[in-house]
Amino acid sequence: MLIFIAKRLGFMIITMLVVSMLLFVLLEINVDGVATKVLGPYSSQESREIWLQENGYRDPLAVRYGRWLGNAAVGDFGDSVRFKVPVGDVMWPRLWNTAILGFWTFAIMIPLSLILGILAGMKEGSKLDRAISVTGIATTSVPEFASAVFLSAIFVFWLKWLPGTSSMSDGFSFKQLLLPIMVLVLYDFGYVARMTRASMAEVMTTHYIRTAVLKGLPYRQVILKHALRNALIAPFTVIMLQVNWLLSGVIVVEFFFAYKGFGALLLEASLNQDIFMIEACAMVAVFVAVGTQTIADVGYTYLNPRIRFS
């Protein structure tokens, strides 16, 4: 087991290295472009060349990569072109904001999807199942920007209960989080609920559930003790991977509601060609992604006795 975890961690590191290499090449191969972005489009060819020399851009690619990697390992990602401060100063607070948004979203979405999925899967084909399935399909069919529009129309303009933007300019306000959370939950719960339903429905048709019923166990025990233990393995993995999805999904929502989060930052940085910021944000994103994947894999191995004790 420990060896398995070590292997996964190793793979995680390799993935991050490979991705960082690809990113670096992609973004910094055009050194003149970098200089232009840093010094501005009106700078002269000469000043750019001097800057490039000074900052080591004329060194071989491998050396530059190594230097960057070394710096990144200690948290120095360079300075943001746009904000003119070290990248970290802008990125970490934004990451924290997104974490808050993510936390509350999951706190609502996970219990909701699991319960709905289990209820639907327990009685496959029933009216409840149909209702939950169709609702799930319908909500995942509405893209986040569209549901953001709809929900804003209802809650901001019609009912006037919630504010239209979430910039938190006067300090933290939970009210401002509500709309972004609603949009995220609405979009994502359908998928997780349907995965849970599929897993539950499959477990309910297995022979060992039949054995449990024909042993005379009360229905409640059949579900809680026999079915759930097997049915929840797949949704666990799905939920872990949703953290990965969140990083993408949150971009649209943060952009729409002007929430100062990580996703909006990445978007801004890309649109403004803020190279160092992009590199740093991408690395963080990959770290989170690979980290959750690793946790999902390890967790799946742990939860599945067939693999754990083989």
């Binding site: 060896i3 297995t206 022979h207 060992y208 039949r210 054995t211 449990a212 019923v213 024909l214 042993k215 005379g216 166990l217 009360p218 025990q221 003790k225 026999h226 233990r229 097997n230 393995i233 939860l303 599945n304 006795p305 067939r306 004790f309 083989s310």
Partner: protein
């Protein structure tokens, strides 16, 4: 709910069961009646679709969403099960009526320890404490003869073998002392020697616990060993019922008689007394004929009498026990007189040697990538799938390779077919050593001359292609024909050869039955006029009557084309019927080889002895010596240093068996046994299977 302890344990009267499908209501079981007393074991036997499993589900009142009990009554100790509330039913299940299933691994929850699953039963039903439940479970695990019960309690299902899993399932069923045990094909998924152990266990348990049993199977031989009475079902109806002795000795219904004719009993012989397949096909559930369901296939069918109205069960007169038949004409039929000897077929003439296997060896490398193994320098392990194989096959001969799972027969087939190459030794076929020629390097002629028939009819054909297309492709590939018209001609000829209608050419596999698909598989194998065909368990997945037809087809084709047949099987009855010579394999090595008679008579290798004893034989006058193997199959990666059979051998002499590989002893020219026990001692063994001579029999079988 008040039980009447004086009433029969189970009393079913006029039961009618139906399923609701898109096509409407389909009757699954019709007019079913049965009574079981305390301690009685009754067998329900029939082929697929006869409704036997449906009856078991109906007894449990668990027919699923689309099944209903249309009419009739099921009484358990006097209580009508249909009238019970769900909670009363729940208390009945597992405590009074328990069920044992066909696939033990699927029946156990993979995420809970076996101990948890076992203890639940008495805790729920009797309210005892966890400690008490634990102790009781350990005791019952001992009763089902599982070694080391405490370890099993803590284990997960995947950590024990198939046979052990089934014992756990049986233990689970017995924990609350049920009065009735339902067993649905409990040994079908297990190896033959393991099956023998379980079957014996089931028979003994019935006596020890006093439970009544309903034993469902398609295998008449197993029913003979376990049950007191038997019910034969065909297409939803019971066609005959009686005691074992009465029904097996004097079957009265043409279907029962036909079934016995399909089974390769020891008295059958592929030339002198071949199998007599039942013609025709099982009717689809919604296309049952009026009157007798078996009518269209019956040799004694009388138009006007057999198809005019529903036929009821009538008592067979002159029988001491309850022997009843559902037949219009049973009083007029005398099967003994019907036996004709025109069905004798000419023996196949054996020619020269075509295949020589000389010391063939196939090892697989398994890489263990864990750090511990690399440090120990043992990261590459060898799986010795085939070791020191030595035998030959001649033109027109049928050589059977017999063994259970893990014996290496599939690996051997793969090497022959070129899907693998031998690690050492030679396999000479048609002059070349094909052991080292993978299939991609063989000429089309070579490939066409050595083909295979596969085991699983549902997988043997590609579901997305037409029958004609698939056979045609083979013809083209082997270079037999290249012109489109000629290819089509040849395909149609092949369809004729396997007795399939020509318009199957455009059909897809989905539209064919299992037996028909297997025939196409045979047609495909013979497309290139092969000199040798490997048949890998070609009939084990088929119903008895269908299997008989396919077996006869194979021998007829073989007779006509003088093909050498390498027949791989675990079923010694079929092997005795078909094979001229037999090779017995265990854990990759040959234990014994010789002609069929030499194998079936002493001297025996201990493994052969056990295998012979394990084969169920549906002839009540044949006696068998009982040999039950203890111990486990060793892992292929860690085979014993000496004789591979040492961990289970009932005649193990001592340490020499563990340490040294036995030398091959020649009991006669061509009969080899690999054992440390000296030949003279082996020769003194009693025959395992004793077939009485025809004159001594109570009734004539063939």
């Amino acid at each position: 709910m008040q039980f009447d302890e004086n009433a029969p344990v189970l009393e079913i009267k006029d039961l009618n069961l139906s399923y609701w499908t898109r096509a409407g209501e389909i009757p699954a079981v019709i007019d079913f009646s049965l009574t079981i007393d305390k301690g009685e074991s009754i067998g329900l036997v029939g082929e697929s679709g006869c409704g036997k499993s449906t009856v078991a589900m109906a007894i449990m009142q668990y027919m699923g969403g689309n099944g209903t009990i249309k009419s009739g009554s099921i009484k358990f100790k006097g209580v009508e099960l249909n009238t019970l509330a769900p909670d009363e039913l729940r208390r009945l299940r597992g405590a009074e009526i328990s069920m044992i299933y066909q696939e033990p691994f699927a029946a156990l929850n993979p995420s809970l320890t076996l101990g948890t699953q076992l203890k639940e039963v008495p805790i729920i039903h009797e309210g005892i404490t966890d400690r008490e439940a634990h102790d009781r479970a350990v005791k019952v695990l001992g009763d089902v003869r599982l070694p080391d019960p405490e370890r099993v309690m803590a284990a997960y299902p995947h950590q024990i073998s198939g046979g052990q899993q089934q014992r756990v399932v049986i233990a689970m069923g017995l924990l609350s002392n049920p009065s009735l045990l339902l067993l649905d094909e409990p040994t079908t998924a297990l190896d033959v020697t393991v099956e023998a152990g379980i079957t014996k266990l089931i028979a003994d348990i019935a006596k020890q616990y006093g439970t009544s049993q309903v034993y469902i199977s398609h295998n008449l031989g197993l029913i003979l060993e376990v049950c007191d009475r038997v019910f034969v079902m065909y297409s939803g109806e019971v066609v005959e019922e009686g005691t074992i002795k009465s029904l097996f000795t004097w079957p009265k219904h043409p279907y029962t008689h036909g079934l016995f004719g399909c089974i390769p009993l020891p008295t059958a012989d592929k030339n002198a007394a071949p199998l007599k397949p039942i013609r025709g096909q099982l009717p689809l559930p919604h296309e049952r004929p009026t009157g007798c369901n078996f009518g269209p296939r019956c040799d004694f069918f009388a138009d006007g009498r057999c198809n005019s109205r529903d036929i009821a069960m009538t008592q067979v007169t002159g029988s001491a026990a309850d022997h009843r038949v559902r037949c219009e004409r049973w009083t007029e039929l005398d099967f003994a007189a019907e036996i004709s000897h025109d069905e004798q077929k000419p023996p196949i003439s054996i020619g020269d040697t075509v295949l020589e296997v000389d010391g063939m060896q196939k090892y697989y490398e398994v890489h263990d990538r864990s750090i511990a193994a690399i440090i120990a320098g043992q990261s590459v392990k060898l799986v010795k799938a085939n070791e020191a194989l030595d035998f030959d096959a001649r033109e027109g001969e049928t050589v059977a390779i017999v063994g259970e799972s893990g014996c290496g027969k599939s690996t051997f087939a793969k090497v022959l077919m070129g899907l693998e190459t031998a690690t050492d030794g030679e396999v000479r076929y048609g002059g070349t050593n094909i052991g080292e020629v993978p299939v991609r390097e063989r000429t089309p002629k070579q490939i066409g001359s050595l083909q295979m028939v596969f085991q699983n009819p549902s997988d043997t054909l590609n579901p997305s292609h037409t029958i004609g297309g698939q056979i045609g492709r083979v013809i083209k590939k082997f270079g037999v024909e290249s012109d489109k018209v000629k290819i089509r001609e040849r395909v149609l000829e092949l369809l004729d050869l396997v007795k399939l209608p020509r318009d199957f050419y455009i059909r897809r596999p989905r539209q064919l039955s299992g037996g028909q698909k297997q025939r196409v598989g045979i047609a495909r194998a013979f497309a290139g006029n092969p000199a040798m065909v490997i048949a890998d368990e070609p009939v084990s997945a088929l119903d008895v009557s269908v299997a008989a037809a396919v077996t006869e087809l194979l021998t007829d084709i073989q007779r006509e084309h003088k093909t050498t047949l390498l027949f791989i099987s675990h079923d010694l009855s079929v092997v005795r019927y078909l094979a001229d010579r037999i090779v017995v394999m265990y854990l990759g090595q040959i234990m014994e080889r010789g002609t069929t008679d030499e194998i079936f008579d002493p001297p025996y290798h201990p493994y052969t002895e056990a295998l012979l004893s394990a084969v169920p034989i549906a002839d009540p006058e044949v006696t068998k010596r009982e040999i039950v193997l203890e111990g486990n199959l060793p892992s292929v990666m860690n085979p014993p240093k000496g004789c591979p059979f040492t961990t289970r051998c009932q005649h193990k002499i001592g340490r020499i068996c563990d340490e040294e590989r036995p030398a091959v002893q020649m009991a006669s020219n061509g009969h080899a046994i690999a054992c440390h026990i000296p030949l003279d001692e082996l020769r003194q063994a009693e025959p395992v299977i004793a077939v009485p001579k025809a004159e001594e029999r109570v009734h004539v079988t063939q």
